[in-house]
């Protein structure tokens, strides 16, 4: 059995950099069981038998945020052999607050003191030996950025693990120690001696997640009595008493180490921030940065690279080469078609977005690492939280205008899980680049290329996001206390090239993996359905299984005005890539080659559709389930269950909106009352009710009432 070292520390303290320095390329990235919090582990460089487990960055081990629960469940339940606690020396007091909690877990602790260069630049010093004495554990000075002393710190942790000497908890004030001692005596028969202090504190805080099996009701009642008498004596609740005592202790430790944090200094970073988030320049600067991100990644550099991959690599280079090879080995027609049309066509369409995404990820990594991303949340919070979104939701939506896949992947930067889900569900409502041909087709064929069709698509997209936010916020799935917006604004700093590249690569690799599995299979399946009939003979799309499925589905869409099976089939092929909708119409209407906007068959379209049904078709395709690549991205970010919820909601919402558009549009022309119109009225009423019904949030109200006393 090897040694397990857990890496714990605050967010923004250099933990990821340290982890990379310790493990190099031997990392394994996954998710913690049951949640979408990222789990990273790797082998320590030069020590094959030592595993380093990276824990989520947390400020505390309270039971409230997902990251904190994940970290403490691991620390208490799986008991690593040692904890390497990385501490930001330039922010000693708040970092030591977490340290006081880690010292109580009954596990050996080693403190790695990072960012000493920042302290020295500010003219400060830290008494490392004194801090080590006061904490009762080894303290190693490191520089994660330059990779200095990182391995020494890890080796110190290995020694501590081998010695097996559990860290000593810090002492609080006498009254609190007395109370904790009484509880410790009550819980100690039920837990390992090293964890008695931890459980005593957790029971004192009335932490509902800390449960000891052997504890009888009688003992629990005794504990409660101890807590109440302590609370009465101090005139404060138990949780506050412990938190206060910890910060008092952290302040004493910081002062003893020569680094009190009492004064409010004005640093260079503060001066930058004064301008960047100021009333006058805040939004203009924000707009300029967003424009740059969009311009570089979507309009210019990224698109040039993506066009090259799509048109040259997957257009002129790979397909002819593969075709030549397949012909030369005398491969069957159907296999050629599978490889060329199904696999290379489908996966190529998806991988084509990769260069664009890599440029984008690089820019996002920069915004994130330099500290601007949290300022965006600071600027936009007020606007977005009204619809249950986060201030950071703006970035995924902006990127979603280019492509929904990187847009959804950009939701990674939203820490709060509920906000992240909501953003991922709504991001693809914004028309992406691949939906523009559909807009061009409908606008050209039915509306004489009217100027308002395209802007209206964006308007509907934004309205859909706002309505979805308001509706879903009130459902049980998203109900509850709004996420506390209590957020650290770390100082600005220039990120290193290496960390940016690692960041970018991690996300790009995740996407490539997805394209190689789920998207690959989905593309092959759609190819199979549209190339064969039920006797498994190769036919053109009009006689294929997909056409038969379209025929079955068509009546479902009749209330939306497009019960034509060809429209249903075209919408289905849009799942591979949205621009396929136009091409499929071309094939089904009997045109082999069509322009991107399908100008050749505008006349045929005008016979099949009316203005109302065409607009309904357009809106349905804009709002319904996105392409497989985007669904794959949602699955990667949210997991399987939430992907079903997201896709189900999007289809339902698209259906309802398209129904109303067609029925009202038709009524405006014909003035005839139909069952369809009645259905649209019911849907509209339900929609309005969902929008205006009161949200259930009694807990929060009580809290406010208590605060107002």
């Amino acid at each position: 059995m090897g040694i397990q070292i857990a890496l714990a520390g605050n967010p923004n303290c250099g933990k990821t950099t340290l982890f990379n320095a310790l493990t190099g390329s031997s990392q394994h990235v996954g998710n913690w069981p049951g949640v979408t919090v990222e789990k990273k582990e790797g082998r320590l460089r030069g020590h094959a038998d030592v595993t380093v487990q990276d824990l989520p960055g947390v400020y505390s081990l309270s039971p409230y945020t997902l990251e904190e629960v994940v970290a403490r469940d691991y620390l208490v339940g799986e008991k690593p052999d040692a904890i390497l606690n990385i501490v930001d020396a330039s922010n000693l007091e708040r970092n030591l607050y977490l340290t006081t909690q880690l010292l109580e877990l009954g596990v050996p602790v080693v403190v790695a003191l990072n960012m000493m260069d920042v302290v020295r630049k500010q003219g400060g010093v830290i008494d490392v030996a004194g801090l080590s004495r006061a904490l009762g554990c080894p303290v190693v000075e490191i520089s994660a950025l330059r990779g200095e002393h990182c391995v020494q710190a890890a080796e110190e942790a290995i020694r501590a693990a081998q010695a097996g000497q559990a860290a000593k908890p810090q002492r609080f004030d006498d009254a609190l120690e007395d109370t904790l001692g009484q509880i410790e005596a009550l819980v100690s028969p039920c837990c390992p001696p090293a964890q008695a202090r931890w459980y005593a504190v957790k029971y004192f805080e009335r932490d509902s997640r800390a449960k000891l099996d052997g504890l009888t009701d009688a003992v629990q009642a005794k504990i409660e009595a101890v807590i109440v008498s302590a609370e009465d004596a101090a005139d404060d609740d138990a949780e506050s008493l412990v938190t206060n005592a910890r910060y008092v202790r952290a302040a004493v430790l910081a002062r003893a180490a020569g680094r009190p944090a009492g004064q409010h200094r004005l640093t260079v970073s503060d001066r930058i921030d004064r301008i960047v988030t100021s009333r006058v320049f805040g939004f203009p600067i924000f707009a300029a940065i967003m424009f740059l991100v969009y311009y570089i990644s979507i309009s210019t550099v990224g698109t040039m690279m993506t066009d090259w991959v799509n048109d040259v690599l997957f257009g002129e280079l790979i397909p002819p080469a593969v075709e030549g090879f397949l012909v030369s080995v005398g491969c069957a027609d159907w296999l050629q078609s599978l490889v060329l049309d199904g696999v290379i066509g489908g996966v190529g369409a998806v991988l084509g977005f990769l260069p664009q995404m890599m440029v984008l990820f690089l820019l996002l990594a920069f915004l994130e690492d330099c500290g601007y991303m949290v300022r965006i949340a600071f600027l936009m919070d007020r606007l977005f939280r009204r619809f249950g979104l986060s201030g950071k939701s703006f970035i995924p939506m902006l990127i979603g205008m280019g492509c929904g896949v990187p847009g959804i992947m950009a939701t990674r930067t939203i820490e709060n899980e509920r906000d992240r889900r909501m953003t991922a569900i709504t991001t693809t409502f914004i028309p992406c680049g691949a939906k523009l041909p559909i807009i061009a087709l409908i606008a050209g064929a039915l509306f004489d290329g009217a100027w308002w069709v395209s802007p209206s698509a964006y308007f509907v997209g934004v309205a859909a996001i706002i309505c979805t936010g308001i509706i879903l916020k009130k459902t049980a799935l998203f109900a509850g206390d709004p996420a506390p917006f209590v957020m650290e604004l770390p100082p600005y700093h220039l990120p290193t090239v290496k960390s940016l590249l690692i960041h970018m690569w991690e996300r790009a690799a995740a996407f490539v993996k997805k394209a190689g599995t789920v998207i690959f299979l989905a593309c092959a399946a759609i190819w199979f359905l549209q190339s064969f009939n039920f006797r498994l003979e190769m036919v053109n799309a009009g006689e294929s299984m997909l056409a038969a499925i379209g025929g079955v589905l068509a009546p479902v869409f009749a209330p939306l005005g497009w019960g034509d099976w060809r429209a249903a089939v075209a919408a289905l092929t849009g799942l591979v890539a949205k621009e396929n909708v136009v091409g499929t119409f071309g094939v089904l209407f009997g045109f082999a080659e069509v322009a991107e906007d399908g100008a050749e068959f505008w006349g045929t379209m005008a016979q099949v559709f009316t203005a109302a049904s065409a607009y309904s078709y357009l809106i349905f395709n804009l709002l319904c389930a996105p392409c497989f690549a985007a669904i794959g991205a949602v699955r990667r970010e949210l997991g399987g269950k939430w992907t079903l919820i997201a896709v189900g909601y999007q289809c339902l919402f698209a259906y309802a909106v398209a129904l109303c558009i067609y029925q009202y549009g038709t009524f405006a022309v014909t003035r005839a009352f139909t069952p369809g119109l009645a259905a649209a009225l019911v849907v509209t009423a339900a929609f309005v009710w969902l929008l205006v019904r009161p949200a259930k949030r009694p807990e929060r109200k009580l809290q406010r009432a208590a605060a107002a006393e």
Binding site: D237, S240, T243, D270, F378, E488, L489
Partner: protein, 73 residues
């Protein structure tokens, strides 16, 4: 009772007590806004909410509604 919400940018106060309960309160305390600590209000976001404060040597942003839970003198 004066709360953090009433402080203007540039003003400093000392935390006397935290009201309320639950996750938001715990989160505020975890971030170092505990009894006796000195808080400086740095600025208000351009849309009027949230605010930025300086506490224990670092910068923190909070919504005004949550600031009502923090009693200062």
């Amino acid at each position: 009772m004066k709360t953090l919400r009433e402080l203007k940018p540039g003003e400093t106060g000392t935390v006397v007590r935290l009201h309320g309960a639950g996750p938001v309160k715990r989160r505020i305390m975890d971030m170092g806004l505990t009894k006796g600590v000195s808080v400086l209000v740095r600025k208000v976001a351009p849309l009027g909410d949230p605010i930025e404060v300086s506490v224990r040597g670092y910068e923190l942003s909070l919504r005004r509604a949550d600031c009502e839970m923090i009693q200062i003198d």
